[in-house]
């Protein structure tokens, strides 16, 4: 047995999880690694990945399995009591998972609720562009299909497509349930689907390291931003805010991760005379980023616009008990009082400037917010609690399969009869069909399974 691993996996409930895994540098991989380690303590778990070099702390090597999305190990996949498929917007990481999810129905874990970028990759190939149009038609209607054809013809851009057609449920076409990490967004999504929609607070695996004891520090104060950084991370506004300070030299900014060239952060810093205070580090090993977070004084974790997803970055900031600035929008807008400092997107530069000045004058409220953030992360975002909820949902897989079966059958019957008869006649026939479906599998919509109590289910 490899050193540091716990006892062999428990027998009983068999759970399979499809996810990117470390060393891929994605927050979903980090999240899954910590959750898988907790699941292994609770059930017989297998992690499936296409990565040849995948690692997963807490799992035995035999519990991490590689698969070929074009030759799926169906016999083994079907042996699971429940399968969880983790979906994000990165087509390279998640497209193999879609192959698996379409073959073996399971629970779709939606880390991103705007999946347009993911499915737009289908539009790039002649062999899959028809599938893209069909997906757009199925989820957003004929206008969307027409726009999809325009997108394929380069008449409209991805931003417009993402704004109009988020495709939040397209990855759940064969799912028995969907699960997301934003309470409000999942509640809204539950109105768009008859599938059970679960809410589970995102978990973070960075809580096993104690947070540093923070106290007021002298300037220059170290700001930090990290992750995949595009224009919506508002670094331009941050740089303008620093430049607008009476003494811009009070703050430095360290940027970790991938910065899109369109952000032009280094050029802008040069224009604003901040080039000596701003450093772009690129991707760094996890321990280097952890040290940077511990050594920073204030994190800047802005998003505008945002698709509303829970932020793994924010949990990481909280895990380090680091004060942070966030935009009052989407998932961030509902963060508990006193755990972050809000920036209003309508008055962004002024708000940031105000916070930087306030931090300079009195760091204590910010430090307290970071400490409260850590407490919230420990209470609501632990991998153990997340794993507990997954196990409960898995225990209800039989009910979830029957609900999905009922929905599929109802759809097939109504489509078939719709070909045979007029709408009024179909309406008269419908109660008989509904009775047939309910006899076989239970009503398509019925009382929530037991797991909903713990996990938060809306349908």
């Amino acid at each position: 047995m490899p050193a540091g691993l716990g006892p062999p996996p428990r027998q009983g409930l068999r759970i399979h999880v499809f996810s990117p895994l470390p060393p891929l540098m994605t927050e979903i991989a980090n999240h899954s690694e910590s959750v898988l380690a907790e699941l292994a303590l609770r059930c017989d778990v297998t992690a499936w990945t296409t990565q040849a070099d995948a690692t997963c702390r807490g799992l035995h090597p035999g519990q991490v399995r590689q698969y070929d999305p074009y030759d799926l190990p169906l016999r083994e996949m079907n042996a699971a009591d429940a399968v969880f498929y983790n979906f994000g917007n990165h087509a390279g990481f998640h497209r193999p998972i879609l192959h698996a999810a379409l073959a073996v129905p399971g629970i779709a874990v939606l880390h991103d609720l705007n999946m347009q970028h993911f499915f737009a990759r289908f539009a790039l190939s002649r062999s899959t562009e028809a599938a893209y149009v069909a997906i757009m038609r199925r989820h957003h209607g004929e206008d969307a299909a027409a726009d999809a054809r325009r997108f394929i013809g380069h008449e409209v851009g991805i931003d417009l497509m993402a704004e109009r057609y988020p495709l939040p449920l397209a990855a759940a076409d064969r799912a028995i349930a969907v699960l997301g990490q934003n309470r409000g967004a999942m509640q809204a999504l539950s109105q768009q689907t008859r599938l059970p929609a679960y809410f589970l607070p995102l978990s973070t695996g960075f809580l096993d390291v104690p947070a540093p004891a923070r106290s007021p520090a002298p300037p220059p104060y170290r700001l930090i931003a990290f992750g995949f950084i595009g224009p919506n991370r508002r670094l331009a506004s941050l740089l303008h805010a620093i430049a607008a300070l009476p003494d811009p030299g009070l703050f430095t900014l360290d940027i970790y991760g991938a910065v899109e060239p369109s952000v032009g952060v280094e050029a802008l810093a040069g224009e604003l005379g901040l080039d000596t205070q701003v450093r772009v580090h690129g991707f760094v090993p996890a321990e280097v980023l952890a040290a940077a977070l511990h050594g920073a004084h204030l994190a800047v974790n802005l998003r505008y616009p945002t698709m509303g997803e829970a932020s793994a970055s924010q949990l990481r900031i909280w895990a380090a008990a680091l004060p942070s600035l966030v935009t009052r929008t989407g998932w961030y807008a509902d963060l508990p009082d006193g755990t972050v400092a809000f920036v209003d997107p309508a008055d962004e530069v002024a708000d940031i400037t105000g916070h930087l000045l306030a931090f300079h004058h009195d760091q204590a409220p910010y430090i307290a917010a970071g400490r409260r953030g850590r407490a919230v992360a420990e209470a609501e975002h632990s991998p153990g609690a997340y794993a507990d909820a997954l196990v409960r949902i898995a225990g209800d897989a039989g009910v979830l399969h029957r609900r999905r079966g009922a929905l599929d059958l109802a759809g097939t019957l109504s489509r078939t009869l719709g070909e045979l008869m007029e709408t009024d006649d179909l309406r008269r026939t419908a109660p008989g069909l509904a009775r047939c479906v309910a006899d076989l599998f239970g009503p398509p919509i019925q009382e929530a399974p037991a797991s909903a109590v713990a996990a938060g289910e809306f349908n």
């Binding site: 016999r75 064969r174 047939c436």
Partner: protein
Amino acid sequence: MRVGIATVQVPFVRGGAEMLAENLAAQVRAAGHEAEIISIPFKWYPPRRIPEAMAVCRLLDLTESSGTRIDRLIGLKFPAYMIPHPNKVLWLLHQHRGAYELWDTPLSDLRGAPDGQHVRALIHGADRRMIPEARACYTISRTVTNRLQEYCGLPSTPIYHPPPGAPAFGALQPAWGDFFLMPSRINPTKRQSLVLDAMERTRHPVRVVFAGAADDTGTHAALQAQSAGPRLRDRVTWLGNIAEAEKLRLYEGCRAVVFPPVDEDYGYVTLEAMLASKAVVTCTDSGGPLEFVTHGVNGLVCDPSPDALAQGLDRLWEDQAAAREYGRAGRARYADMGIGWEAVLGCLLD
């Protein structure tokens, strides 16, 4: 009484289930009732077709026909036993085996298929709801009853019935010749390949005659290729589908019958062999045959391995007297068990 016999049929495939339905209908008519076989076409692939077939059955109204009430519906096979009826009695041949006892074997149609686990969950749920709907649940064997209890927690009572043409088998003048007979559909669940594997390992030049049509060409071709090798070429005979008279002649002349299926529901072959005074060589995991065959009394029960089965074949090949003795004991056992249609109709039409 008007009696409907609800079953499913895979078009162009004929086996024991079809014979059972026909015999049951004949016996019901002979008892003075009207009987009609109501057969629903069934396609089990891709798995998404299965819930649709369940719904088709569920949407049928067999409470009456042409204005006249159907007094009793006897459900035989999945999913025909889901057809609703106020006076429904089940006499289960089997459930959808790929979702139950075959799930963990390569023989399951669902286990290795897209949607397999999903459709399995649907079948399990629907069976637990639909089967108790009947006023009584009987099965054709203890094997089927045990499965129903194990997988669905549902009680049932087995009732045995004679194989088709039982009197003709009972009237045979047995000889114990120099070949084994395996009279069965050619299908992976019947394990003709295990018999060939065993023949590769026998010490004696054991001969086996296989009689029965193939369910699929792929399996048949693989078996024929397996038997074309130098060790088996002259010892294996494939007859395909044969007439009843030819089958009787083979039963009459064979040394013994070899029948090693995987967890067979019932198995007419066993009963035919017993009536024909022939020993049965079967396996410890063969299901239905084990309800009738006792090792060393009226046949041999071997481990399901080529070596063990080879030993069984060798034993009866070199000891004709034992084959004769086991055959006669089988015939006596059949008589002792009181297997007949009267008991079946007494339950199903009660």
